[in-house]
Symmetry: C2
Subunit: 205 residues, 2 copies
DNA sequence: TAGATTGTTAATCGATTAACAATC
DNA sequence: TAGATTGTTAATCGATTAACAATC
């Protein structure tokens, strides 16, 4: 592995590769070429080889990549060869759904708590969780040592909530609220507002 | 407006600008400079001016942009100055949440139906919807004339569902399933798998 | 060995930024 | 008018692709 800074655009493609590889591994296939992986994910073979080669020489000429080996390497690079605790903030429908979400398991994540500031929701049971009071969120984040949060709060609350999260030690935020939030540069935010995602496609209709 | 093809990366930023402008408009502010808008969305002023200028000369030197005028133009460009019907495929927790989602209203979208292939779910009531049988989905898409679908189905079903959607006339797919789907080039897909979104951030932890 | 495919270099392509004349 | 800010050009920066020697 070299030491130069890896562009964010490359890091963003690695989970896509990983997902396709894990899917392929389930079918008992052992090796894959950059060409084949490229067809699965819709990315050129050259780009896949270049992306992967940023982290080491993981392939074999004439053969391609060992799927199991590459999965392990990608998990290691992305730090998902461990399970990260995640909190959900906002116990609306979307918060409920994400707290229940079965797809986090086996991908490196586990929801450990869900918070809301609505006193009527606090104490309600959601699957195996009890909705906790947002007033206690900061303390809970610290004591649990959580670094990752999913925000499903109204736009009007998002910045305030983000400030509390960052202050309490959260370093990655998956934001479903329809608003940009300002956070320090050491905190990463991924935006996933459903309406914005749809609006990216209507231009082409 | 010129006629050359607008890069997809620019189209993808327009909904972000629009969202920030609509938010700003609610506070009664009338004009905004590229500098100010840039601070709201975390994008350079030069880039914002260049993006907007692809579509016309919407600003005024010395003053900036009329917020109301720019909102109208962006809505027109993105074709969200109308309401698009949307179907949801997959009546799991996430499908439920998106069918109920209040954030589509006023952003150009309206969910009109939700489908599932599980006979136990078909007929169940979700808010104002009854879950419909996926077997009838194709016919319903055609008769409703829907062009946009949200997929919240298991990875194993996603390709098959996408094929049916495309065949029935869907041209934009918001895909929450953790898998890439192959569709013709005239169909747009936005990927929004929660676990993949989180995995884009763990590298930095 | 012959065929296949990697890792990497150089070339190309595209996106972002800086700078400033035009002008409100 | 003076100050502010656009729209646009040219320069810079970064990402993608093509090509191929190395080698499994």
């Amino acid at each position: 592995m070299n030491n130069k800074k890896i562009p964010e655009i490359i890091i963003g493609r690695l989970p896509i590769y990983l997902r396709a590889l894990q899917h392929t591994a389930e079918n008992g296939i052992k090796t894959i070429s950059s060409q084949e992986l490229g067809e699965l994910v819709g990315i050129s073979a050259a780009q896949i080889r270049k992306d992967i080669s940023q982290f080491g020489e993981f392939g074999k000429q004439g053969t391609g990549y060992s799927i199991e080996f590459l999965i392990n390497k990608l998990c290691e690079i992305l730090k998902v060869n461990q399970t990260w605790d995640v909190i959900v903030v906002g116990a609306g429908d979307l918060g409920h759904a994400l707290a229940h979400y079965q797809g986090f398991k086996d991908r490196g994540f586990r929801v450990v708590a869900i918070f809301d500031n609505n006193k009527n929701k606090v104490g309600q049971t959601i699957g195996s969780f009890k909705v906790e009071d947002a007033a206690e969120m900061s303390e809970r984040i610290r004591s649990l040592g959580v670094k990752i949060a999913v925000m499903t709060v109204p736009a009007s609350a998002a910045q305030e909530v983000a400030d509390v999260l960052v202050q309490a030690g959260i370093r990655s935020i998956l934001n479903y609220a329809p608003v940009n939030v300002n956070v320090p540069s050491y905190v990463k935010v991924q935006y996933s507002d459903p309406a914005t995602n749809l609006q990216k496609m209507t231009y082409y209709l």
